[in-house]
């Protein structure tokens, strides 16, 4: 089979950039809605902040896995 296209160089960096898109959008949504919720109901600050940080932590894990994987599997 002949090679049609090849990609060389620091592909890991590109991979991390791609991996960061989803979590970037996700974290934006989480904090945006969190701030909105706090503005609407300031007395529920404790519960909202706790769930906000929890959602942030779970979403951020995806970006961090994207950051670590090139170090692990990269050549």
């Amino acid at each position: 089979m002949s090679l049609l296209a090849e990609l060389t160089g620091s592909i890991g960096s590109i991979g991390y950039g791609l991996a960061a898109i989803g979590p970037g959008v996700g974290i934006g949504i989480i904090f945006g809605n969190g701030v909105q919720a706090i503005a609407r109901q300031p007395e529920a600050y404790g519960v909202i902040r706790q769930n906000m940080i929890l959602g942030f932590a779970l979403t951020e894990a995806l970006a961090l896995i994207g950051f670590v994987v090139p170090f692990v599997f990269g050549k």
Binding site: V47, I53, L54, A61, L64, I65, F67, V68
Partner: protein, 272 residues
């Protein structure tokens, strides 16, 4: 970090060599001594010493803060009480609920150990976040993992604990074919793996970032306008990033403890 500085010795902007960007090598420090006991290698290095130091500092501080319990607390006792109350009110009671109080010592030890370990990344002289070695987050996560699995099986019974996790209420019956394996995987594999990776990767990335700008400041330092300005900028960024990193270190320690509390809470009460 010392290895990078040595390899970039005399390597400045116009001296012909390229930018010696730090790689993952900076996390593998030279061991001070290696002990061979029963066919295994025990390495004593910077990380080992820092971990022992952190454990010692926390033990001594909290023992000293708790020993003479007075009605009117002294300076040390009130700082210790602040730390305890922070864990109790912000994490244990908020997440687990009323019976969270008996987990405060566990959560507190976890939080302060992780926080101080992370803080070693910016303390001059130490400057190596312990949690950027994967072994330490993994060990802590295994303790947490064992704790919440044990608590879940003890409080709900082994069968009910796993079935409650695998078959969440309010889902159409047919969906369970898809959902049950995923929920089991989430409970047994994804939770501990992400908890360890999150702490490790945050410290790893932060340390790498600070090192890159530090090496950059050193590399750009040369008798030219661009070099001087670039070096000053890079150094300024290092200072700003160090402040940012201290925030991240606190946040990651908080998140690690918060997730532990959430998992323990989920094990104690079935419907969550």
């Amino acid at each position: 970090m010392s290895a990078v500085i040595v390899s970039s010795e005399g390597c400045h902007l116009n001296s012909g060599c390229g930018f010696p960007a730090p790689s993952a090598d900076i996390f593998f420090l030279e061991p001070y001594a290696t002990l061979h006991i029963a066919g295994m290698d025990f390495v004593i290095g910077k990380t080992t010493i820092l971990v022992a130091l952190v454990a010692l500092v926390i033990s001594v501080f909290f023992l000293a803060a708790a020993r003479p319990q007075r009605m009117v607390p002294g300076k040390l006792q009130s700082i210790g009480e602040q730390g305890y109350l922070f864990i109790r009110d912000q994490i244990a009671r908020e997440v687990i609920g009323k019976d969270g109080d008996r987990f405060v010592p566990f959560l507190g030890a976890l939080f302060f150990f992780v926080w101080l370990s992370n803080l070693m990344g910016v303390i001059p002289g130490a400057q190596f976040p312990i949690m950027s070695s994967l072994a330490f987050p993994v060990a802590l996560t295994l303790v947490v993992y064992a704790t919440y699995l044990y608590l879940g099986m003890k409080h709900q019974g082994p069968i009910k604990f796993f079935s409650a996790a695998m078959f969440p209420a309010g889902v159409p019956k047919a969906m369970y074919i898809l959902l049950a394996p995923l929920e089991l995987l989430q409970l047994v594999v994804t939770r501990p793996v992400t908890q360890a990776i999150r702490l490790f990767a945050n410290m790893f990335a932060g340390h790498l970032l600070i090192t890159t700008f530090t090496v950059g400041a050193y590399y750009l330092l040369s008798p030219s306008i661009i070099g001087a300005l670039g070096s000053a900028t890079s150094f300024g960024v290092t200072v700003v990033l160090t402040g940012f990193e201290m925030f991240i270190q606190f946040l990651q320690a908080f998140i690690f403890t918060l997730l532990t509390a959430v998992y323990i809470g989920g094990s104690l009460h079935a419907e969550h």
